[in-house]
């Protein structure tokens, strides 16, 4: 009989603890999120975190002061490339012998240039490194980034162990709870707003509901976001383009305003969320088959943009997640519509957590769990001034111009390669271009074929 009473006491106690937990969350996190003010708890956490990481970095550096010093340069590269053009390099190679009078300028040493370029790209290339997480210069006390770092001192290991406890046993459950609350709120709230008739208050309520959800989700990731140049914030009737690192980009941007999303219709939980969102304000969801029809896509985007009451569209022109060290080719679709483009640059600070979603390595759930067991998510968002397509500029050039502006602002490398190379092979035409370039160095410009490139 006493066993039963003890059991009841235990469950009563557990239930009571759970109630306290929920009240704490609601009052300390949800209410501030709803009304947009902060209690300073996260700020304190961040300050402690920054100090701890700095201390750890110093300890590691001091321990390795006798070994080879860290490279002072920002590049973590393995080789130093010769950046001579094909023409220059081949000329130097051919200098050793006189040019033959007839029959084409070829020497056996021409292959040296291609061999060296080939081996350089095997050791280090611009593209494949963008699809894995950035290498850190100094360890940030997370297990997952511990590739090169070794045991330094007892204190450091203790802090690391404490970090694991804090991250997995305290922060992770808290964040998961918040994420669940945030998402359920989104579904319930937007469906509720969707029931209202189309009064002006509906759009205001809809934005409010969306923003609360995203704020809760942001707290759920311990996100510390700094927005710069907010006077350039995207306005209605425009298209907001940003570089893409992970699905969390959406949470980051939507914390500061409402956007209309574009994307594929999913099933399951995502589908439920999508359908709920669309009830309260217009988003653009495509069926999988519809996405291939370029005209349909363009038409729907144009229609949305022309309706000045609808929110600005949020698009990630890279089409895939890249690791936030560079910006890859922008697909020209959104730049052909003729709408105002509002570029946004997002840069995460890798010290606090790696935000990149390596979709070939981790599933979405796995990724979210990793996010929730990182220290925090620190990022900077820059709103760039609006851009328009200029006279005589085609969509591709316009897209490249916007991409350069974003890369420049975010301190990212501007690459011409297609993010689709993550999964697909590179097009043959690029190789053909190299061959054509070389041919013109062999026979001059009177080659027999003519192609329009």
């Amino acid at each position: 009989c006493t066993d039963l009473a003890e059991m009841e006491d235990f469950w009563a106690g557990a239930f009571w603890a759970l109630k306290i937990w929920l009240y704490l969350i609601i009052s300390l996190i949800m209410v501030p999120a709803m009304f947009g003010f902060s209690l300073g708890i996260s700020e304190t956490y961040m300050t402690i975190l920054v100090k701890t990481l700095e201390w750890a970095t110093l300890k590691i550096q001091r321990a390795h002061a006798d070994e080879q010093t860290l490279k002072a340069s920002s590049s973590n590269g393995l080789i130093q490339r010769e950046d001579g053009s094909m023409e220059k390099e081949l000329e130097e190679l051919r200098r050793s012998r006189p040019k033959p009078p007839v029959g084409g300028d070829f020497t056996l040493s021409d292959c040296f240039y291609f061999s060296r370029r080939g081996i350089e790209s095997i050791v280090e290339d611009e593209v494949t490194q963008r699809f894995t997480s950035e290498e850190l210069v100094s360890w940030n006390l997370l297990t997952r980034t511990n590739n090169y770092f070794q045991y330094i001192s007892l204190r450091l290991t203790l802090v690391y162990g404490l970090g694991i406890f804090v991250r997995y046993c305290i922060l992770a459950p808290l964040r998961i709870t918040l994420a669940c609350i945030g998402l359920s709120w989104l579904v319930i709230g937007t469906s509720a707003v969707g029931l209202l008739p189309n009064w002006r208050i509906k759009s205001w309520l809809s934005e409010w509901v969306h923003v609360i959800c995203y704020r809760i989700c942001a707290r759920g990731l311990s996100a510390a976001i700094r927005y710069h140049n907010r006077e350039n914030k995207p306005k209605k009737g425009g298209i907001c383009v940003a570089n893409h690192t992970s699905p969390i980009d959406i949470v980051i941007l939507c914390n500061d305003g409402g956007y209309a999303m574009v994307g594929q219709v999913h099933g399951g939980l995502m589908g439920v969320i999508q359908r709920a969102m669309v009830r309260s304000c217009p988003h653009i969801w495509f069926e999988r088959a519809e996405m291939r029809d370029r005209h349909l896509v363009t038409k729907r985007l144009t229609d949305h943009v022309n309706d000045k009451t609808k929110l600005p569209i949020l698009i990630f022109p890279e089409g895939t997640c890249v690791n936030n060290t560079s910006v890859m080719m922008f697909k020209k679709g959104s730049f052909e519509i003729g709408a105002t483009i509002y570029p946004v640059a997002i840069k995460y600070d890798p010290k606090f957590g790696d935000a990149f979603w390596n979709s070939s390595k981790y599933s979405m759930v796995n990724y979210l769990l990793r996010m929730m067991t990182s220290w925090a998510l620190v990022c900077n968002v820059w709103y760039l001034p609006a851009m328009h397509q200029q006279e005589g500029e085609d969509a591709v050039q316009f897209a490249n111009r916007v991409k350069s502006a974003i890369a420049h602002q975010g301190g990212l490398i501007d690459l011409q390669w297609d993010g689709g190379l993550k999964r697909a092979k590179v097009k043959e035409t690029f190789k053909e271009q190299e061959q054509k370039k070389y041919s013109s160095m062999v026979v001059g410009d009177d080659s027999s074929s003519n192609s329009d490139g």
Partner: protein, 195 residues
């Protein structure tokens, strides 16, 4: 920044590779990291597809020949030792190495071995001779469709004529070395590895 040999690369192996190729400890661990990142199948070896996944290599006209240089005759997989051995050809030649030990075997990055790497790019069937056919095939790889067969043929003929000294209408390795004796092979076939 300290470097820790991963569980898959033991200290003894690193020492052996260091002796064989001349790379430094940290260079070897970083190249191992690169090797594993290319190894999508995670079985400790690279296949030709793993190399072709590198876009810059895929658009290189001699990309396939370079990839082939990593694979020993008849094999389809290359392990880390083989990978390093081939990369070692492109280490710059340091002056202090030349006088070290005259009886030791030639280092992988000597001028002769660098030329051998280039020779093997042309020598498709590995019979130690570059025939006219082989030269034509490699030329075709480099120029694509932009030059006619006749013109390419005359380029090949002229090249062989210049290099061939014993009249067998093909280029042997010694003839290859002779023709390129004025070229700065040390600099052109070397890559500057950092740290």
């Amino acid at each position: 920044m300290g470097s820790r040999a991963s569980t898959l690369l033991r200290e003894e192996e690193i020492e052996e590779i260091k002796k064989e190729t001349g790379f430094s400890h940290s260079q070897i661990t970083r190249l191992y990291s690169r090797f594993t990142s290319l190894d999508k199948g995670e079985n400790g070896t690279l296949s030709r597809e793993d190399f072709q996944r590198i876009p810059e290599l895929a658009i290189n006209p001699l990309g396939d020949r370079i990839i082939n240089a990593f694979f020993p005759e008849g094999e389809d997989q290359v392990n880390f030792r083989g990978f390093m051995r081939t990369l070692a050809h492109f280490r710059p030649i340091e002056d202090n190495e030349k006088s070290k030990n005259p009886t030791a075997s030639e280092p992988l990055n000597s001028r002769t071995n660098k030329l051998l790497f280039a020779f093997r790019l042309y020598d498709l069937d590995r019979d130690d001779k570059i025939s006219r056919d082989e030269l034509l095939q490699v030329l075709r790889m480099m120029v694509g469709v932009n030059i006619s067969d006749e013109q390419l043929g005359s380029i090949a003929d002229r090249t062989i004529q210049e290099a061939d000294t014993n009249g067998d209408n093909s280029i042997s390795f010694n003839e290859f070395i002779k023709v390129l004796e004025k070229v700065d092979v040390e600099q052109k076939m070397s890559i500057r590895f950092l740290h």
